[in-house]
């Protein structure tokens, strides 16, 4: 059974009033943090203390708090989503830290994700990439054929699902020294490339999404693989390779 205990920590947190303001690291001391708390619950606790002292609390993004919405972010001690692997920040628990630790908390750092305030960044560049082609152009009229009329080999369906599990958190971009969005885009391209439904528009899709990705100012992929390591959903580099193949195929057409 997990040992219940409380620890004291020092926090160094990036504070920035808005996109235009200059930011700085601020230091806060926080006592009595239960090791059963999640990282975000620890921040709640800090904010409660700040509010009680009439200091403005730290803004950070979060919603589901169960690792699925992709809203939470944070660079913690120099790593996207913190020291644990395969998880989001909301799933990170304070038992990963020791009494007396100093913890650095920063927003995603990437040109394509400008800071909005404190630890909150703007990830809408991801939206625009999806809007450029991350879909199957089927009408929403409901006049489709019976679902089982399109059999999909289990292996392909499973692979497509694995790619589709991306939560759009942006850790891959934030962690990449080039600020590349290839893992994110590769995952979406792969999902549809693997399914019969997506085949018809495959050429246009990959060309459009890659064009938009470049326009948004994301960097190039140099195959360092940092994205895969920090991805909370285990999206594999295979998807980047598949996207490159799809792109090549499309460019040759």
């Amino acid at each position: 059974m997990a040992s219940k205990k409380n620890i004291n920590i020092n926090l160094k947190i990036w504070r920035q009033k808005n996109a235009k303001a200059k930011g700085s690291m601020e230091t806060y001391k926080l006592d009595n943090v239960s090791t059963d708390s999640s990282f975000l619950e620890m921040l709640d606790q800090l904010n409660e203390e700040l509010i009680n002292k009439q200091i403005e609390p730290v803004a950070f993004d979060h919603d589901c708090r169960e690792g699925i919405c992709g809203m939470c972010s944070l660079y913690i001690n120099g790593r996207a989503h913190g020291p644990d692997t395969g998880i989001t920040t909301c799933q990170l628990h304070m038992r990963m830290f020791n009494d007396g630790d100093t913890i650095f908390v920063e927003p995603w750092r990437s040109k394509a994700f400008p800071v909005i305030k404190d630890l909150v960044v703007d990830r809408t560049s991801f939206e625009r990439i999806q809007q450029a082609g991350g879909f199957v152009s089927v009408n929403t009229s409901g006049n489709t054929i019976d679902a089982n009329a399109t059999p999909v080999p289990k292996h392909d369906a499973d692979k497509a699902f694995e790619a589709a599990a991306c939560i759009g958190c942006g850790a891959c971009v934030a962690t990449c020294k080039n600020g590349s969005a290839m893992l994110f885009v590769g995952a979406k391209v792969s999902q549809f490339a693997l399914l019969p439904q997506g085949k018809v528009e495959a050429t246009q899709r990959v060309l459009n999404m890659v064009r938009q990705m470049d326009e948004e100012g994301f960097g190039n992929c140099t195959n360092t693989g940092a994205c895969e390591i920090e991805c909370p959903k285990g999206i594999s580099l295979e998807n980047i390779a598949r996207m490159n193949r799809e792109f090549l195929k499309a460019s040759l057409k």
């Binding site: 606790q45 409660e48 403005e56 939206e127 929403t140 409901g142 054929i145 059999p151 997506g198």
Partner: protein, 669 residues
Amino acid sequence: MKLDSKIPDGHISEKWTNHKNNLKLVAPNNRPKIDIIIVGTGLAGASAAASFAEMGYNVKAFCYQDSPRRAHSIAAQGGINAAKNYQNDGDSIYRLFYDTIKGGDYRAREANVHRLAEVSGNIIDQCVAQGVPFAREYGGMLDNRSFGGTQVQRTFYAAGQTGQQLLLGAYSALNRQIGLGRVEMYNRHEMLELVKVDGKARGIIARNLITGEIERHSAHAVIVATGGYGNVYFLSTNAMGSNVTAAWKIHRQGALFANPAYVQIHPTCIPVHGTNQSKLTLMSESLRNSGRIWVPKKKEDAEAIRAGKLKPVQIAEGDRDYFLERRYPAFGNLVPRDVASRAAKERCDAGFGIEANDTNEGVYLDFSTEIQNKGKQAAYAKGNHNPSAAEITALGKQWLEEKYGNLFTMYQKITDENPYETPMKIYPAVHYTMGGVWVDYNLQSTIPGCFVAGEANFSDHGANRLGASALMQGLADGYFVLPYTVSNYLADDIRTGKISTDLPEFVEAENRVKDQINSFINNKGTKSVDHFHKRLGNIMWNKVGMGRNENGLTEAISEIAALKEEFYKNVYVPGSNDELNPELEKALRVADFIELGQLMAMDALQRKESCGGHFREEYQDSEGETLRDDVNFSFVGAWEYQGSDINKEVLHKEDLKYDFIKIAARNYK
């Protein structure tokens, strides 16, 4: 006010078809003259927005997250029902209809539920066409599993991430329309007021959450698809931002609020760990297919477990009380959620809870039997007819991992315990709200032109929601119901022309919003918003929770009224109104939760019966089962706002008629 549900005439199986044939249409060339606002882009809102844009209307869609893909629908784990009968186990539209009505304890509207069952198959077709990667069998066909409250396998799923995949499907359809310029998407925007002109919904006031700017948006119809209000309890399985604000604001403008007391408490959540807890995490109900729920038979054992002196695996088989299998042999661990939740509470109240938290609340969900069974099966399938115990266990665990891997990992991250080795600890938590804005068969509220879809309306689930039915309802509303019924309403608007946002009604509504915001920012209080939210949650959980009684409810009503007063006097909202200000966002939401909480208690108090998620302790049979009162309470209770004194709200009743289903006591034995 007379409630007109507008249920079409005719046989239940023909009502929707006939109704559709009689609804008015808007010709394609006229649709671009019409604007529609959709608030909320979860399953219900995103599917509606994509559908209306596809038809050619101008759509403006709003959500408070930075992307529609993050709506709370994303979190749904288990699956979505559809009467496809792919498994050939006797499923049909009628059976899905019947199970849903029975599951809802005969407090849902027959015609709506039948329509839901009718379109359910189409939902799966639509999603598959969009590229939603549902689980497949080896032959390439779709796989199914079963869920609580049913005896067939009709649930479609994508591992433990069904909601995610369905939402991403709807989101991709929405993105396509945004890309084509047919939907204007306003993310990080919150609707804070409805604008009525000549009694009709004609627009909204929204706050840009980044700049704090208050914006006016006009339209010919407004659709509210903003999800449920479970966060009134502070702790729930809902996303942190889930709120009732949009629904409550239209309630204040004249939309009736129906059955607010019907709250679903989900049996399989991770128990509370401590006072800093911010939310509760659900373990998918699909786990009940493979897990057996138990507590120790002997109190000493439970005490020893709580004290850390005994491990669950050390309790002999004969000393375990599989209380669901014992009480409900026909359905066992697959009884509906309200039944399973109450049974767990009953054991914990009696002192058999196993969790070492303040309240000793928790029961086991044990996978060891399944590990053995599936392990043996897997060994045999491999041609190994004499497997060792270790081989069986290893294969069994592998099977579990394939089926529920992500849920098991999630559990381990949160609790630091390995559920492959030791049973999971679970306890009921607030999960879903069956009540919501009252709507007629067309999903229109009592405000003309204001429609409500998905979890935000009250319509399809009655007093209890079966698993895998909320996703179904959200998509049914958005893809297949609203496109017809809203068009019918809009057919009279093709000559109206653009609605000006300079109308005095817009100015007034904007001023109401600004006044409220300014009063919070300028309040010289000392306590945080969360402080009040937690206190509200406490009252709600203790007195309007899994069990309710007259005394508790009466107390809750006056305690909440007092809390409200203190909140306005003493809340402190830091920061300003012209920037990203999460504390201000919370204050605006909690203000509405407080009023709603009081109404929930009032609704629970007037309903002198037990049904589904609403368990009035005074009304139970000798075995602790719910005692429904069909003679006096077979109605939808819909409340009308009368000014900010919630005590003055007026109750209207919509009688429920069951013409095509025989009402019976709900029995899962």
